[in-house]
């Protein structure tokens, strides 16, 4: 069961409507899609969706890293030797977690398909067959955010994530959305590193009366000490996102008391491989996790979902709504392993082995970015 071939494609799929968060507004999403074929002829699929402003790694860079640096050292390696696979990738290229995660999902998909079991069976087993979802509301005028919240509340969502940047607008948005959902839904605020320590403390204390479930990444990613300060000076649970990328970051966060919860994003943290190790650290230290999202398509979302259903530390809403924001998908609609229903992502009992999703070759071609064409 050795790796025989790795193929990388880039696709671009428009959002249904433009999406705004702290660092960018975008009307489309670029996906890097990897297909790894084993000597048995089985194909595993992986993807990453670059977020260059937050994490670097543009799509063409990921493709180059995989083709020029990873493929030469991974061809011929056993698919189940995941520690060895990572040793080789880490020896070839420093950092570049998105590139590594693209390979990671495809390897885990291959493992599941080769073993003929759904991926969650290889990750500790099934704890829950449905994942509570957060509807993610982008930065916009509070009234519009409230309308969006109402719309999705009526569709069954009971957990909301408000993207935030300016403090006043964030407080107002929280107030408006809380007025809509009252005590029937959870609302969390994600500042994506927007605030200084003092601004964070003041803002969170002002938000307290609207009972946010938690505040995500209030301060800069590198400032774990500052985040601990914020945590000590406020009464709302604090979640680390950009601040905890590697397993070493997780240990530092534990040492410093910087967070109550860790947002595990399998792309940011280089795959299911490292995310599980971070989940182990969180479990050991008594912290919770949630599974976050880079607004991936179905491939990345499926990978995240398998982790979410097999991880005991996941107790609150997860952000796995990427596919709902995209106007189309490159995976086949039939034989699907998942279903969005009433604010949950549900695992279907008919889920196939591995990730449980298959690429639609026609859609792949339709949305493919011809990398060599001039724009």
């Amino acid at each position: 069961m050795r790796i025989k071939n790795i193929q990388v494609d880039i696709v671009k799929i428009p959002f249904r409507k433009p999406f705004t968060m702290a660092m960018w507004t975008s009307k489309e999403k670029i996906h890097v899609v990897a297909r790894i074929t084993s000597e048995d002829g089985i194909v595993g699929i992986g993807e990453s969706v670059p977020l260059v402003a937050e994490f670097g790694e543009p799509a063409k860079g990921i493709k180059e890293i995989i083709e020029q640096y990873f493929a030469p050292v991974l061809i011929g390696v056993e698919i189940f030797d995941i520690e060895e696979i990572y040793r080789r990738m880490n020896a070839a290229v420093k950092f570049h977690w998105f590139a590594k995660s693209t390979i990671d999902f495809a390897i885990y998909d291959l493992m599941g398909k080769t073993a003929n079991v759904p991926l969650y069976s290889l990750l500790g087993g099934l704890n829950n067959d449905k994942i509570l979802l957060n509807w993610v509301i982008g930065i916009q005028e509070p009234e519009n955010a409230a309308k969006e919240a109402e719309y999705y509340f009526n569709k069954g969502y009971r957990s909301f994530k408000l993207k935030a940047r300016e403090s006043d607008r964030a407080i107002n948005t929280l107030r408006e959305v809380r007025a809509i959902v009252k005590d029937k839904a959870k609302i969390r605020v994600d500042a994506n590193q927007s605030w200084s320590v003092s601004e964070a403390i003041q803002t969170i204390n002002k938000m307290e009366k609207f009972e946010p479930e938690l505040i995500e990444q209030p301060v800069s990613y590198w400032n774990l000490e500052g985040m601990a300060q914020v945590r000590n000076a406020t009464n709302i649970p604090i979640m680390a996102d950009e601040g905890v990328v590697t397993i070493n970051d997780a240990i530092r966060a534990v040492r410093l008391g910087a967070a109550d919860i860790i947002n595990l994003k399998i792309a940011k943290s280089a795959g299911i491989f490292y995310s599980r190790k971070i989940a182990d650290i969180a479990e050991g230290a008594g912290l919770e996790c949630i599974i976050g999202s880079m607004l991936e398509g179905w491939i990345g979302t499926a990978a995240s979902a398998h982790l979410a259903v097999s991880c005991k530390s996941v107790k609150k809403g997860c952000d796995l709504v990427g596919p709902l924001l995209h106007s189309d998908q490159i995976v086949k609609k039939e034989n699907f392993g998942f279903k969005y229903e009433e604010g949950y992502l549900k695992l279907l009992p008919t889920i196939q082995s591995g990730l449980g999703v298959e690429i639609d070759p026609l859609k792949l071609i339709q949305y493919q970015e011809k990398v060599n064409e001039n724009n």
Partner: protein, 369 residues
């Protein structure tokens, strides 16, 4: 797939000789073996060596925990749902890690057999093909320790572990004599099994520093993490935890207090393969090495530990996996293939599906208590 039954085999197997450690003498070893059966005909085995002085729990209480508490909550559960299995056991009884470990190991044996993969492929892959192991010397006369050490080095062992902790002066004398006899190349590790207090440990270790000691294992009382940190800071010899790390939170505390550089993971103590891997991951993130230890298990338990050691990058020092050699008879088939053999100081990893060992049930019955 569902678990249909879990049979317990409490066994006692005589050792080849008396084994003295700082806590006690051991002449006759008790083991809890479990056989887990499923509705698809696949079955798996788990095993731990039982040492009541180490962890609360006797062979009788561990076996009855499995029979009366764990089996009722695990019947009908899928062995692949290993996280759920541990949660069910934890909700049923607090502690009893030895019994939980035996069940956990049996689950992994089944998972591997179902998927036609050796256990190490399920938990990280073959990061290493063979596991370097230590030869262990008990607290004996200097002559005995020296001759055994020389023999072990001649057999290819690259690391010798010496039990210490009953008498500091005698310990220093023995280590000096061993080092002189085996030369500078083989590694010497000392294991005090909590035998010293922190100040005594630092003083004794300072006397040994020029003897080139690889590390000192559990120098002080397992509850004294601060004392362990004192020793770690008070000497250049790296500190290894053993009895101190029973649960995840113990390891977190060791990390927060910078109390050790190396964690000795024993599947029986931590509660099985699943838990051992999590401990290894936490240690890895904090920059700590790990080794696999044993409670003098026989082939089933040693195989389980070998799979963990082979699949975990930060198990980068020699492990203490020679327990099966100490027994007069083992319960696993000698298949003739290099499997759990130790050659030139390396333990060979089983490659067949599951744990990769075949259990002779006749032997289990022969030694049943």
């Amino acid at each position: 797939m569902k678990i249909t039954s879990i049979k317990t085999f409490p066994v006692g197997i005589p050792l080849k000789f008396n084994y003295r450690i700082s806590l006690t003498d051991i002449v006759f070893k008790k083991h809890l073996v479990v056989k887990m059966e499923t509705d698809e005909g696949v079955f798996g085995y788990g095993e731990v060596g039982v040492l009541p002085t180490e962890i609360g729990g006797t062979l009788e209480s561990l076996a009855s925990a499995v029979d009366y508490y764990f089996l009722p909550v695990l019947k009908g559960i899928n062995p692949f749902d290993i996280e759920d299995i541990h949660e069910r056991m934890n909700k049923s009884i607090y502690g009893f890690h030895f019994a939980k470990a035996a069940i956990d190991i049996a689950c992994y044996d089944i998972m591997g057999k179902v998927l036609n993969l050796p256990v190490h492929k399920l938990i990280g892959g073959a990061y290493r093909e063979k596991v370097p192991v230590t030869w262990c010397l008990g607290i004996e006369s200097i002559e005995q320790n020296v001759s055994e050490a020389v023999q072990a080095v001649g057999d290819g062992y690259r690391a010798i572990k010496v039990k210490v902790g009953q008498d500091a002066d005698y310990d220093v004398e023995r280590i000096k004599a061993i080092r002189e006899a085996i030369g500078s190349k083989p590694k010497i590790r000392i294991d005090a099994n909590q035998g010293y207090n922190p100040k005594e440990a630092i003083k004794t270790l300072k006397r040994m520093e020029k003897l080139d000691i690889q590390c000192v294992e559990q120098p002080v009382n397992k509850l004294d993490i601060k004392g362990l940190a004192e020793v770690q800071q008070g000497t250049s010899i790296p500190v290894m935890t053993d009895e101190a790390v029973y649960s995840y939170k113990d390891l977190i505390r060791v990390i927060e207090l910078n109390a050790a550089s190396i964690i000795n993971i024993k599947l029986a103590r931590v509660g099985g393969i699943m838990r051992a891997k999590k401990i290894a991951h936490i240690a890895e993130a904090a920059g700590l090495s790990c080794v696999l230890g044993c409670m003098l298990e026989i082939g089933i338990g040693i195989a389980a530990a070998a799979h963990v050691a082979a699949s975990t990058p930060n198990v980068d020092l020699e492990s203490d996996l020679i327990g099966h050699l100490y027994h007069k008879e083992d319960v696993i088939e000698d298949s003739g293939v290099k499997m759990l053999n130790i050659e030139e100081g390396d333990l060979y990893l089983p490659q067949e599906p599951g744990l990769g060992v075949s259990v002779k049930e006749g032997i289990l019955e022969k030694y049943r208590i």
